[in-house]
Structure formats: structure tokens, C-alpha cells
Amino acid sequence: MKKGRICFVLILSLVLLFPIIAGGTEENVNDEKVVLTLESWRADDVAQWNNLLAEYTNEVAPNVEIQFKPTNPPDYNATLRLKLDSGTAGDLLYARSYATGQELFNAGYFYDCSDIPGIQDAFIESSKAPWQMADGKMFAVPFAAVSHVVYYNKDIFAKEGLDIPTTWEDFLSVCSKLKADGITPLANGTSDEWDIFECFFCGILPNFIGGADSRVQYENGTKKLNDENFVAAYQAMADIAQYCPNGFSAVTYNDSQALFATGKAAMFMDGSWTLGVYGDEGLNWGVFAMPAPKGKNTAICFHPDTAITMNPATEHPEEAKAFLAWLCTKEGATVASNNMAVGFFPMLNEEITLSNDHANECLALNAGKETDARFVWPALMDLYSPMDQAVIKVMKGQQTAKQAADSIQALLKAEN
């Protein structure tokens, strides 16, 4: 009995000690390399980032290992905030553009990247602006932008003998022809609420109200949010509602993707981030620019989406800064864009060729056109939810375009 007990205690203590011994050896290995973690909202890009980071370790900084730790996209802002508050965030962080990023910089959670070598010359002003404070300080290194386009099913277009519409009026007649032939013209739905606003409404908006110069006039009050251009944009949403799937109010973003991917819908207004989703097997598809109404220039919603910054609380600031500086070089940006998920476009002020055909096709649409960020992001973020709701109400016929525009303008007045 006693012997048994001694034996048991011995084994137990061995078992308990084991992790300590094992942990000790593990730590020794870690000492040789500096390990940084990169927080991100791109949970889909683990493979791409691992390649990119492996390339960085192998060719640029053999003593640095960067680990990619993504969070579920909708939870990223809150999770990051929580981690920063409790001091457990990674060394390198994905930074949202405009107000969301500025707020974290003001709270002291983002490093002042203005002195990162190369950052000032590598990007043009409009690429820097989303991650710039009013006083010109940069709080992150611009990394990627996304575009907003119309995905279309080439087979359906060929079968129906349709051409790519170049004006909004053409677009509507293409839709009505498709519908008359029993094909759902558009895959978009309103159930998830964010996609109809961010992908669709913000995507077509520059066509109706103009690009960045015009946006600034709306922001400073020179132009009203219920002028005829805005009413026309809401009216466009009212017009296309009948071309969305039956019961579009219950159609989620995933449903829309599935409808387009299975050829049940002919077109899908979406962001470039899904360029890599559909592949080329079984679906013959392409993209075209969201068309502007007659007499207006087609403009593209090219949204600055991703930047990377450093956590000031990191234990290895030198290594982290070196990585950010590398991203500002042509060499770094090329490695990055070759590994980046399809549909995320490099922002560096250099000619960088992409390896994916669809990505090149999408980026080529920007040529010669004005581009701008999503309308509310730069200065009117408070209007995000009200405008989103207004668009949905217009689509469901609960509000006229004029009423929707007036209600948004009234909100702006109430705030000032």
C-alpha cells in the first residue's frame, strides 16, 4: 500500500514536471529568433500571409519570424480594442482607415509611423490620406485597396446577346431584358445590411455625385445631401430593387455569392475582395465598372482598405519597424502583392504587375477614371447606419428617394 503510494507520487510529480522541462527547451529555441505577431481581419488569407512572411524571413530578415494571427472580420475592431486595452495585442496590427484608425492612434495604441523610412515618398497623397491625422502624422503604412465592380456571368450575357452596359440607363435595360427572360438579373440582397450599402450604394455613388472633390463639398456643407444627384442615387436603388432576387430582403451576402456562383443570377455588385472566390471552373465570368447615368463620367469606388502599423507596446520595435519599412519598398510591395489575396491592390506609387488575370482586369477598369473612397468613410461615418437603413427602406418601397435623402440631410443638420 505504502509502496504503491510512493510510486504514485513519483509518477505524479514526473507528470507535473514534464511540461516545465519541455517548456524550458522550447524557450531556448525561441531565443534565437525574434517572434512577432501580426493581427489581422483577413481570416481567409492565412495561406497567402504565411507565404509572404516566410519569404520575408528567408530573404530579408533571417532572425525575425512573423506569425499571422487573424480574427473573424466583423469582430476585428472590437477584439483588437479589447486586446490593446488589456495589453495582449500583437506587435504588428492591421489598421482600419479614417476615423476607426485615428481613434486608436489618439488613444496611443498605434505607433506614429511618420518616420518609417520611405513612407513619405512611396505613396501619393490620396493613398496616404486615409491613415493620416489632420496634422499630417501617418499612423500606419498603406497596404491594400479594394475596388467595387459589377461581376457578370459571360455565358448568360452571350446567350441573351447582351453587351456590357456603359450607362446606368443601359444597365437598367439589360436588367429588364434578363428579368423578362426569367433570369434573376442581380444577386444582391439586403438581409446582412452592410453589403447592400458598402458594395452597392457606395459603389455606384461616385457615378452619381462625383469623386473626391465633390465628396469634400458634401462634407463641408457646400453641397446638400438631398440635392438632385443624391436623390438620383437613391432612386437608382429603388429602380434596381425589382431586379434583385425574389425575397431579396432575406438574402444574405453568402446567399448572393452562392446565387452568382451557381449561375442563378446574372450579375452581382460586389467588392474586388471576392475576385479570388469564384475561380474559373464551371463559371465563365468577368467584371465591368458600375456604370454612370448618361452625361456623367464613370467613376470607381476604390476604397483604401488595409494598412499595417506597429503596436507601440511591442517588445521588438526595431524588427517591427524594419518590416514596415520593407513594405514601403518596391521589392517588399511586389512580394506582398504577389502573395496577397486576389482583389487587394497594392497602393505603392510604383508600377506593380499582378499575377491574377481577373485582378488585372479589375484594376484596368480604373484607368482614366476618377476614383474615391466609400462616401461616408472619410468624414461622415456617423451617417453609416442611417444611410444604410435609408437605402434598404427605399429598396423595399417604404420611403421615396426624396424622403430618404431629406432624412439624411436632416440628421446632418441636427448634428452640426
Binding site: 475592431n77 472590437a78 480594442r81 488613444a107 438581409s191 446582412d192 432575406a250 437603413q389
Partner: protein
Amino acid sequence: MKIKSKKQKKSYSCVEEKKYYWLRYIIPALLFYVVFMAYPLLDSLRLSLYTGNTINSRTFVGLKNFIVLFTDPQKSTRYWSAFGNTWIFFLINMVMQNCLGILFAVILTNRTMKGRQFYQTIIFIPTTFAVLVTGYLWKLLLNPIWSGPTLEKIGLGFLAQPYLGQSSTALISCTLVSCWQWMGIPTMMFVAALRNVPEDCIEAAEIEGANSRQLFARVKLPLIKPTVGMVSILTFVNNFNAFDIIFAMENANGAPEYSTDLIGTLFYRVGIAGQHPIGIPDTGLGAAIATITFFVLALGVVPTLKATQGGDN
């Protein structure tokens, strides 16, 4: 009772000397409760008087969070709409779940009932599924895109409506899914309670000539009153705090047009996740919403407990 305690005193005379001997028995549970329940609860009440997100930047603002919540036109609209929706959600759950729960329990405990185990299992199975799973399944079933073709084949095409997309039907649909899922719990509790009704009471009533309706209303129901109270309280607390089913079937915004926005989703949006796309939470305001909910729950629970629990025990 008195006789019993005298007996105890005799047999455990060593314990009798210490007046608070019972205290040491509850210390582990008490410690656990204080650390993991009472302290966080009181701390969240305290948080509602502060603003700022980080521990360092937190400043005392008194009742400002509550004043903002009820006077800021946008915030108060959201709050009262969520408050109203929560009551609708709770009341439908209360009536559907518990009335059907009692009905099923009476049927299941009927002595002539055949295949009781089978039905009992069927009723209880949805309870064992994760809310995200049932929510997602129902989301697909209620989506005309996916269920429409099947429904049309069997000639019920008119049923393919976007139930979760119309503000008139979304909340009711979510509520009924919640009822469907949790129906098993009250049923099981009522079954257990009805089985404990003493056989001699029922026999006595039968000899007196009571019919089955009288037997239920005058004998069984009064005897299971404490269970009815307990189940009501559980329904109240669980559904007033509901969040998961809406999150699974709609989104944290309470789509469409905030028609399924409950206190739970509003709290999540304000206090935990922050409003998309900025996503910066306001913990103070969130705590204020939680505090009000806490008092509403207390106001509901305490009278129900008093009315149904005490009695002759």
C-alpha cells in the same frame, strides 16, 4: 420541524456549541459566488457611472450615461424599440413555451399514453442543439431562395416569403424558432413535477368524483405551482437577456430595420462590439443598459418568487 432539530442537537452535541457552525459549509460556494457572480455584477453597476474604455482613461460621470441613453433622440429611439421588442419576444415565449409545455407534460404523464419515451425525446432533442446550428438551419428554411423551389414543387409556393427580411414577420419568426428550440426544458420540468404529484391526492379526488379537467385545475396545478413559478422566472430571465438566436438568425443590428433588435443585441452593439463599421464600444453606456435590465429583471423576479415559492413550506 421543531422535533427534528431537537433530535439533531442531541446527536451532534459538539456542533451545537458553535453558533455559526453552518457558515463553514457554505463558505466554498459563497466565495465562488462572490468572486464570479456578485463582484462582476456590482462592478458592472459601478461601470455604468463611468465613461471611457480603458482602465486608465475611465472617468466618473455620475448618471450621465443614463441621461444620454434616455434623452439623445437616436439612442433613446433605439433603446425603447429594443425594450418593446424584448417584451414581445418574452411574452410570446412565455405563452407559447409554457402553455404548450404544460400541455405536453400532461399528455406525457397520462397513464394511458403510449410511446412516451419517443415523444419525450423528440420534444427534447432541439434543446440539445447549439443555437447557432438551429438558427442557421431555420435561416435557410425560412429563406425563399433555398426553400422556395421545394415548396413550389409541393404546391405551397405562396409560403415562400422572406420571413426574416420583412420587419412585420422577422421578430415573430425568430421568437417562434426560440420557442421551438427551448420547448423541451419546461416540458421536462413539468413532467418531473407532475410525476411527483402524490398518487393518493389524485385517487382521493377521483373518488370524490372530480373529472379530468377539475383534477388538473384543482389538484395537479396547485401542487406544481412552485415549478410553474420557477419555469416562469427562468423564461423571464433567459428571454429578457436573449441575444444568441437573433445574432444567429439576423445580425447584431437586429435587421431588418431594427425590428428584431432586443436589449441583448443593443447591449452587444453598444457595450461590447461597437457599431459596425467603427466598432468601438462604449462600455459605460453598455453598462447603463445592463443596469436597467438588471433592475427590470429584479422587479419581475422578486414578486414571482414571493407569489409562487413560499407557501406552506
